[in-house]
C-alpha cells in the first residue's frame, strides 16, 4: 500500500499541489488532469525525485525517502521526457538499466528480449537508438520501466507518441500487469484510461478533485448531457448558451453534444455521460462556466 499523506509541493513561493491525500493498492490508477495541473510533480514525488514541501509519502508504513534503494528497487518509472544514449541500441540500454536496477546478467538476458517483443521492437534490437522514431523511444521507455518486475509501476504520459495500434497493445499489456501491482499512469487523453483504470484521480486547483471509479465520477452528470441536431447557422448562438462538449457534421447538419442543468427541453436526446464529458465540464474555461 502506497500512501500520500497531506502532501504539498511549492516551487519557491509558487504552490503546485496542496494537501494531497491518496492511497494506492493493487490496480490501475489514471491520473487525469490538464497541462500544468501538477501530474508530473506528483509523480516525481512518488519516484523520490522531488521531496514534498509538506507531508509524507509512505510505502507499507515507511517513508519512501528513508527506504532508499529498497524503495527504488520496487518501482518502475517512465518519465515524461524519457532520455536515452544515442549510441546504444535498445538491448545495450536495457542491459545498462538492468545493471543499475540490480538485475543479474543472466536474468536480464532472459528478460530483455521478452520485453522488447512485448513492445514490438524485436526487429530493432540492434539499431542505435539515435535512429529511432519518437514512438519507438517511448516503447523502449515502457519496456525499461517493467525490467525489474516492479511492484509499483509509474508511467508519466506513456502513450504520448504511440500510434493507435500501439496504444491498444499498451492498454492490454497494462491490464494484464495490474493484477498484482500498483500501476499509476498520468495522461490528459481520456480514452487512454477509460477502459483500463480501476480508479481515476483528477487534480484541480492544486487539490484532488476526485479519486473514484469512472462510473461514480460520471454519475454527477447523469441527466445533464444531451445531444441535438441543428443547422450550421444556429450553432454559434447555441454555443453562447450551453457548454458544447463535441460537435460533428452529419449530412449537412450539426450534431452537438452539450451540458444543460435546467430548462431541459423534450426534443433534446438524453445520453449517458462519459469521462470525457466530466473532464470537459470540470476543466472548462472560466467564461464558459458562467453559461452553464
Amino acid at each position: 500500500m502506497l500512501t500520500v499523506n497531506s502532501v504539498s509541493k511549492d516551487f519557491g513561493n509558487f504552490p503546485v499541489l496542496q494537501d494531497i491525500q491518496l492511497e494506492f493498492s493493487n490496480g490501475v490508477y489514471g491520473l487525469l488532469a490538464p497541462n500544468g495541473a501538477g501530474k508530473t510533480t506528483l509523480i516525481k514525488m512518488l519516484t523520490t525525485l522531488l521531496f514534498p514541501t509538506k507531508g509524507e509519502i509512505l510505502y507499507e508504513g515507511q517513508t519512501i525517502f528513508s527506504m532508499g534503494e529498497r524503495y527504488r528497487d520496487l518501482i518502475g518509472y517512465l518519465p515524461q521526457n524519457f532520455g536515452y544514449y544515442k549510441n546504444y541500441n535498445p538491448n545495450q540500454y536495457l542491459q545498462y538499466l538492468a545493471a543499475l536496477k540490480g538485475i543479474s546478467k543472466q536474468a536480464a538476458n532472459e528478460k530483455i528480449p521478452q520485453l522488447l517483443k512485448l513492445v514490438a521492437l524485436e526487429d530493432a534490437i540492434k539499431k542505435k537508438m539515435g535512429k529511432f522514431s519518437g514512438g519507438m523511444i517511448q516503447r523502449v521507455g515502457i519496456a525499461q520501466a517493467m525490467l525489474n518486475d516492479p511492484k509499483i509501476l509509474i508511467l508519466d504520459e506513456p502513450t504520448a507518441g504511440l500510434d493507435p495500434k500501439e496504444r491498444v497493445r499498451f492498454r492490454n499489456l497494462l491490464s494484464d500487469l495490474a493484477r498484482d501491482r500498483i500501476v499509476i499512469l498520468s495522461t490528459h487523453i481520456v480514452s487512454d484510461v477509460e477502459s483500463i483504470a480501476n480508479e481515476i484521480i483528477m487534480i484541480k486547483d492544486k487539490r484532488v478533485l476526485y479519486k473514484d471509479s469512472i462510473q461514480s465520477i460520471c454519475q454527477q452528470l447523469d441527466g445533464k448531457v444531451y445531444e441535438i441536431e441543428m443547422d450550421f447557422d444556429q450553432v454559434k448562438a447555441f454555443r453562447k448558451n450551453f457548454l458544447s462538449l463535441s460537435e460533428r457534421q452529419d449530412n449537412g447538419r450539426m450534431n452537438i453534444r452539450f451540458i444543460a442543468e435546467e430548462n431541459i427541453r423534450p426534443e433534446w436526446k438524453r445520453v449517458k455521460p462519459t469521462l470525457e464529458d466530466v473532464f470537459l465540464y470540470q476543466y472548462q474555461d472560466k467564461e464558459v462556466e458562467q453559461k452553464v
Binding site: 522531488l50 545493471a99 543499475l100 540490480g102
Partner: protein, 256 residues
C-alpha cells in the same frame, strides 16, 4: 462470550518466528559500506561503471601527455628552488575532477537523469563509486609522475613533492564532494570546480615564488596530518554519499 476462550493460539515457536520476521521487515537494514561496494561492483560491473571509456581515455591521455611534456621539456630554474610543485599540484586534481564530473554531464546532456536516479543503484551512487576508483587511480598516476620528476630534476625532492601533491589531490577530492552535496545546480558545481583550479593556476603563474616558498616551508608532518585527516573525511563523505544520498529528493530545486 465463549468464543474468545476457544480461540486457539498458534505454537510458541511460530509466534516467535513471525515476530522476528515482522521486526526484520520493519527495521531499516542496510548493508555495511564495503559490502555495499562489493555488491555494487559485482552487480553493475566494470562495463557500466566505466561506461564512457572513450571520454575517460581522452582525459587520461591528455593528462599523461602533459605530465610527459613537463618531464621532458621542463627547464630547471635554480633561483626558484621548486618551480614544479605548483604544476604537480594541479594536474592530478584536474584529471580527477574531469573524470568525476563525466557521468553527471552525460546524464544532463542526454536527459537520462530521471531514469538513472530512480534505479536501485542510482547515478549518485555510481558516481561516488567512480570517484573512489579514480581517486586511487589519480593517486597512483601522480606518484609515478612525481617519482620520475624527482629522478630527473635535482630540485624536486620525492618525499616533499609526494606529500604536497597527495595533499592537494585529497583536499581537492574532498572539496569536490562537498561542493557536490551543497551546490544543487550543475552550472554552479562546474563553476566551483573551475574557480578552485583557476585560483591555483593563478598562484602558479602569477606569483609562483611566494606560493611555492609557502608550499615548501610547511613541515612534512603537517602534510602527513592533513593527508590522514582529509583521506578519512573523504572516505566518510563518499560513504555518506553512497548510503544516504536519498534523504532529500534527487532533484533539489534552489528556491529563489
Amino acid at each position: 462470550m465463549n468464543d474468545e476462550k476457544q480461540f486457539s493460539y498458534p505454537d510458541k515457536k511460530i509466534i516467535e518466528r513471525e515476530i522476528t520476521a515482522i521486526v526484520k521487515k520493519g527495521k531499516i537494514e542496510r548493508e555495511s559500506f564495503p559490502r555495499l561496494l562489493l555488491s555494487m561492483y559485482r552487480q553493475i560491473g566494470v562495463r557500466f561503471l566505466i561506461r564512457d571509456r572513450k571520454e575517460i581515455s581522452i582525459a587520461v591521455t591528455m593528462a599523461v601527455i602533459l605530465m610527459f611534456a613537463v618531464l621532458t621539456s621542463g627547464q630547471e630554474r635554480y633561483e626558484s628552488s621548486s618551480s614544479f610543485y605548483g604544476i604537480i599540484m594541479l594536474v592530478s586534481p584536474i584529471l580527477y575532477g574531469v573524470l568525476s564530473l563525466l557521468p553527471f554531464l552525460h546524464s544532463k546532456i542526454n536527459g537520462t537523469f530521471e531514469v538513472e536516479m530512480t534505479c536501485k543503484y542510482n547515478l549518485y551512487q555510481l558516481a561516488a563509486f567512480r570517484m573512489l576508483i579514480f581517486s586511487v587511480f589519480c593517486f597512483l598516476l601522480n606518484t609515478v609522475w612525481v617519482l620520475a620528476m624527482a629522478m630527473k630534476f635535482s630540485t624536486v625532492h620525492f618525499v616533499q613533492a609526494f606529500m604536497i601533491s597527495t595533499t592537494s589531490l585529497l583536499i581537492f577530492s574532498l572539496l569536490f564532494l562537498y561542493v557536490f552535496t551543497v551546490l544543487k545546480k550543475m552550472i554552479t558545481k562546474v563553476a566551483a570546480v573551475m574557480s578552485w583550479i583557476g585560483l591555483n593556476a593563478l598562484f602558479v603563474f602569477i606569483d609562483s615564488v611566494v606560493y611555492q616558498q609557502l608550499l615548501v616551508s610547511v613541515p612534512w608532518y603537517l602534510y602527513g596530518i592533513v593527508i590522514c585527516l582529509s583521506a578519512y573525511l573523504f572516505l566518510k563523505k563518499i560513504k555518506e554519499f553512497i548510503i544516504q544520498n536519498q534523504r532529500e529528493g534527487a532533484i533539489s530545486y534552489v528556491n529563489s
